[in-house]
């Protein structure tokens, strides 16, 4: 790791922004009655942050249902994201997508995705674009431990390997798929062990340590950019809250386990790693956190003040050019 001071502070800023987005945005979304399918990535900030710090604006990522962190780390504006969660017309998806579909093509963000595993081949396809058009871009497919057991991952890893595509498969192993522990559902101790069956490097890293994630991703990205093909990175991490706001995680995991992981909070680990070196001060980090908090205040305000979409907009963007009339032909709509 040869990160400069500014880059190091940026890592913290990204993590703090994600944390505050989740801590503030999710309850606020709930209060506005839109929390049906919103998943907090609090606890997992180091993964999105460490990986995306290796990417440029032109690189691509495919994300999951738990994707706010990926969005923020890839540069999507949290204010716009908040508007999207609130169902406002100013969201990047104009209120059509919500938490599980936030996307920003201008940032190479190919969407959070509500179907587990479904975004993986999209990232592979983006990597194919890069290869065919010789763009030098890489793509990252984020997915969970639960997603590791979806067939499409297996197919995608094989395909990416056969075609030597510049793609990084990044598993966020947070120990659970809903209430199902990865120890139960995964027939291998480490998802990374499966990499070998696809002739690609596989590594398991501490997903609470943003520097460890950064380093692993740096290697994989370098390999991809060099045209040497895909890699698999498994990040061991933890979600601090339930699967959504509707479940109580203590019905399926222990307080001790939660405490253990809370003690390894990535923001805390960051402070513990960085402050002793003397280069960066606690006050600086506190300020970054305060700024992140303030940004969320702004974001909530922006979202609340943004207009809702017009009901008739529901007919737009199904196809590129298409008359609204045909989409409602004969179904007796009111708008």
């Amino acid at each position: 790791m040869e990160l400069d001071r500014e880059s190091i502070l940026k890592l913290f800023k990204t993590m703090a922004t994600i944390r505050h987005f989740e801590e503030r945005g999710i309850p606020e979304t709930g209060q506005r009655g839109m929390s049906a399918s919103v998943h907090s990535s609090a606890g997992q900030e180091a993964v999105a942050t460490g990986v995306c710090a290796n990417l440029t604006n032109e690189d691509y990522i495919g994300s999951t249902h738990r994707g706010h962190g990926h969005c923020i780390a890839k540069g999507v504006d949290p204010k716009l994201m908040m508007a999207e969660l609130f169902g406002r017309a100013t969201g990047p998806n104009k209120g059509k997508g919500g938490s599980m579909h936030i996307s920003d093509m201008s940032k190479g963000m190919l969407g959070t995705n509500g179907v587990v595993g479904a975004s993986i081949p999209l990232a592979v396809g983006a990597a194919l674009t890069s290869k065919v058009k010789k763009l030098g871009r890489v793509a990252v497919a984020f997915f969970g431990d639960g997603a590791s057991n979806q067939g499409v991952l297996h197919e995608s890893m094989n395909l990416a390997s056969v075609w030597k595509l510049p793609v990084i498969f990044c598993c966020e192993n947070n120990g659970y798929a809903m209430s199902t522990p990865s120890e139960y559902a995964l027939s291998t101790a480490h998802v990374a062990d499966r990499a070998q069956g696809y002739d690609m490097p596989g590594i398991t890293v501490d997903g609470m340590d943003v520097f460890a994630v950064y380093d692993a991703a740096a290697q994989a990205v370098a390999r991809a950019r060099a045209g040497d093909g895909p890699s698999l990175i498994e990040c061991q991490t933890y979600r601090f809250y339930g699967h959504t706001v509707f479940d109580n995680p203590l019905t399926y995991r222990s307080k001790e386990e939660e405490d253990h992981w809370r003690a390894r909070d990535p923001l805390k680990l960051f402070r513990e790693a960085v402050l002793p070196q003397g280069d960066i001060t606690a006050a600086e980090l506190d300020q970054i956190e305060a700024d992140a908090e303030a940004l969320m205040e702004e974001a909530v305000k922006f979202a609340d003040e943004s207009p809702l979409p017009e009901p008739v907009e529901l007919y737009d963007d199904v196809y590129v050019n298409y008359p609204r009339e045909l989409l409602k032909r004969g179904v007796n709509m009111a708008v």
Partner: protein
Amino acid sequence: MTITNQTAGQLAGMHATGTREIQVREAINECLRQEMELDENVIIMGEEIAGGAGRQDQGVEDAWGGPFRTTVGLIQQFGKERVLDTPLSEAAFIGAAIGASSTGLRAVAELMFVDFIGVCMDQLVNNAAKMRYMFGGQVKVPFTMMTRIGAGFGAAAQHSESYYSIFSHFPGLKGVVPSDAYTAKGLLAAAIRDDDPVVYFEHKGLYGSVGPVPEEPYVLPLGKARTVREGTDITLVGISKMTWVCTAAAEELAKEGISCEVIDLLSVSPIDYDHINESVLKTHRLVVVDEDTPICSMASEICSRVAEEVFDYLDAPPSRVTAPHTPVPYSRAMENEYMPNESRVKTTVRNLMNR
């Protein structure tokens, strides 16, 4: 006539004794418990079916017991061999449930939301639906797939669909769409006991709905619709939750002097064409209210069959109130207009009456 859950139950031939008011969620749970008690070949599997409760030995106290708590308590009663949490691998476990059902078990598998059918549809379409046929009748596949439909929760385009029509399209499958606690229990029992593969569609918006349900096990027939409100001017066919949109509209239209007959479809395969035709022979008008998108839909199917089979009796075009041909939007501002509602049904009925 106002339709309460009570009268809906009576219309469907409610049992007199041992009947309590319970939620759809509870009715489903009770049915699963009873069917598992009655037949040791019944097993159930899916994501979160046991949930945390599968690990009581590890000091885990309570459990999800299904993402909507429809399977709560089953693992305690029937153990891990018959109540199986699965990895997130629908093609494998739904395929395995089909394989198990063709070799002596009566497996129930849950697909968490019907929106995800695309990850495992091959197993359903090319194995479950066709095995008996391709095998020349050598095998029975008493497999039940439970899944969820329905918009209205701000869950956007991948968690809100009502894809029953595509299942109806495939020969070899059956499908049911219960609309209240009574039908939820009786049709689930029917699905499980039936020797063919049946898809059971639960509407997310009905779980909390309370209605009278007999304590003892009972079976409602597959392939039968029911009339939940009698009328003379127009026939409204509702599917799942849309049945109650129809009855609510009917009630208000009654005040305007329009008498609607409301049919609760209950089964999307086989479809009870005769029941619908009979009503149209009386009313001469039809509106199908379907939460799904319109093209090649259940609404198309019913309208086309009525148009063909009772053509000479129709006084107005067979019509539909459905979602438009678009994915489900996230923002409530749009989603509220997307779903069929009372007001759209009323307007459509009025227009047909005034032609």
